[in-house]
Amino acid sequence: MEKTKLISRPINWNKIEDSVDLDVWNRLTQNFWLPEKVPLSNDVQSWGTLRPHEQKLTMHVFTGLTMLDTIQGTIGAMSLMPDARTQHEEAVITNIAFMESVHAKSYSSVFSTLCSTNDIEEAFRWSEDNPYLQKKAEIILGYYNGDDPLKRKVASTLLESFLFYSGFYLPMYWSSRAKLTNTADLIRLIIRDEAIHGYYIGYKFQLGFNEASKERQEELRSYTYDLLLELYENEIKYTADLYDEIGLTHDVKKFLHYNGNKALMNLGFDPLFPKDECDVSPAILSSLSPSSDENHDFFSGSGSSYVIGKHESTTDDDWDF
């Protein structure tokens, strides 16, 4: 990695060194959204149908997610800035950081729409007192403040592609039961953004990884699995603490395994958790797509997507898309 920054250079978007920077910039800006565009107030009635402990759980989950977005927006994404390989990467990082702040703020929009001031304050107090949430933040911040740029990227990718999912589970669960559906729409926008963030930071990690020596690659590989397991161990406790009361811990863990594997894949590593520990309930998976018509069955491998299509000759006009 060469740094030639003795001379200040204005960014030239007409001279792209890495096409992924431009692709990701375009995708992120096309996906731009604000919580104000989601009609959260339509969930007020639905919120009233949740039992008090379900409301409390939802608020705790959302303050937990706010915590991660806050860290990622103000520290995590910014910690990637000094090691950017191109000026366009720097620009993409500013977008990622800003969107994390939008995500963090969007939970406050949910709160102000659905909850009382007292309840909001209780939930934020909870986030400061919950040992597992604090531990999660502590582990991640330790690496963000560390001096290894590739390890920072690993920590960032694991946050984007793994740590959020104990929280994302709950709004998807409510949505699968036709509750808080507008809030779920907002969460889906966040989930979509996080996929691009994880992909991009994972890709930049791989560029550095591919240049490293065999020994260094081995060190990074075992560091990644160790960190994932360290976070996972804490995540299991966090999950049980939140979800035991409504009996969902088992299914949330599967969702964690499933996403842990995806985080590893974003970093170019092999998945860790076996298939039978990743079979997330189909209701949760289909609630990821609001209008899913279930034309594929990805997990059971039962092959419902393997249908012989009808044949119809194509014309050249068909290929102008």
Binding site: S19, V20, Y199, M265, N266, P290, S291, D318, W319
Partner: protein, 138 residues
């Protein structure tokens, strides 16, 4: 290794799709990354196309432009017997949409959908389906 159709795939510099394809067939054929080269690229043997999905639903660039250029050549597209699509369920209804779009236009089946770089289970399932597809070829 048992006989099967050629695998033709596109993978950007991120190489995610390549990682998956490498586990299926070390001799798979890669559509060039440079768009003008993709437009000139010819593969005129019966094949299964592996295509990643781009974008998140708000844009028109779902199918990589190199794949569109490749398929614009009738000599290439008449040989595609099935499509395998890559994607990410985080994109909801947009998951593996590139495969659906291309398969519909070609009138061929979507053989499989995988995420990111694929799991070992994805690899064995796809191998099985590729073998089945080869057996049922006319």
């Amino acid at each position: 290794m048992c006989e099967m159709f050629d695998l033709v795939y596109f993978s950007s510099v991120s190489e995610n799709t390549k990682r998956f394809v490498d586990k299926l067939d070390p001799n798979a054929i890669r559509i060039p990354i440079k768009t003008e080269e993709a437009a000139e690229f010819v593969h005129n043997r019966d094949s299964v196309l592996v295509v990643p999905t781009y974008g998140g639903g708000n844009d028109t660039s779902t199918v990589p432009k190199q794949v569109i250029k490749f398929l614009n050549n009738p000599a290439n597209r008449q040989h595609i017997k099935a499509v395998i699509a890559g994607g990410n369920t985080n994109f909801g209804a947009h998951f593996c949409k590139a495969g659906d779009l291309v398969a519909e236009k070609l009138g061929v089946p979507v053989l499989y959908k995988f995420e990111i770089t694929g799991t070992p289970e994805d690899v064995s399932e796809v191998k099985e389906r590729l073998a089945k597809l080869w057996q049922t070829k006319s």
